[in-house]
Symmetry: C2
Subunit: 101 residues, 2 copies
DNA sequence: CACATACATAGATATTTGTCAATATAAAAG
DNA sequence: CTTTTATATTGACAAATATCTATGTATGTG
């Protein structure tokens, strides 16, 4: 896995289908064919989305036989969570008197 | 503010410039002109990005005089954080024997 | 009022993205 | 070896997106 990147991960989560895939994976590891059943997209489209999710590090891909088992990568989730935690507004500067005071 | 939507928020965070804007706002409320100084984009482009960030609920917009003061919306951040927490893999089903067992 | 500053809107454009159909690859089954 | 199943790749295309220039609007200033 490459280095985790907040923007890439968020971009991956910014698609309704991929978000749904991630939700399904939160219930446990699943293979592609099973994921495909739940969507009204074609197999190549799912394959494309899975590549996006794997490439950004959000999803792990375990190959066994002819199946690919996908699962969430906890490291990526905690990485994103840490980023959010760091976003807490430390000291809001109430700019009441002028520009950016 | 409309209802918070994970995909919309993530899509907003999935752009390098907007992510940088959000990081800047984590340091406290700032006006548009100040944000603009830090980027090599034009003012209309910044305006467009701010609209994206405000529309998804991630950023608040407080108008005072001719300035717009932008700040992070803590509710949106905790909303996203809650979503991430719910993604914790509850019971990984090790599918060692076949498809999705 | 005329001008400057901060921001928004409109229109254009190049790039990215989500999607599909067609095809290829890989592995298991018969 | 042939067929089936699971997944990937390729090429095409429409829609969305990021960006710009030009212009409009709103607010404050001289």
């Amino acid at each position: 896995m490459n280095e985790l990147d907040v923007a890439l991960i968020c971009k991956a989560l910014g698609d309704a289908n991929r978000l749904e895939i991630v939700k399904m994976l939160s219930d446990g590891e699943k293979c592609g064919c099973r994921l495909l059943e739940r969507f009204s997209i074609t197999q190549p489209t799912l394959s494309h989305h899975m590549k996006t999710l794997v490439d950004c590090g959000l999803v792990n891909d375990r190959k066994q036989g002819k199946w690919h088992y996908y699962s969430l990568n906890p490291e990526a989730l905690s990485f994103l969570r840490t980023f959010l935690d760091e976003l807490v507004c430390k000291e809001p500067t109430e700019g009441k008197g002028g520009c950016c005071q």
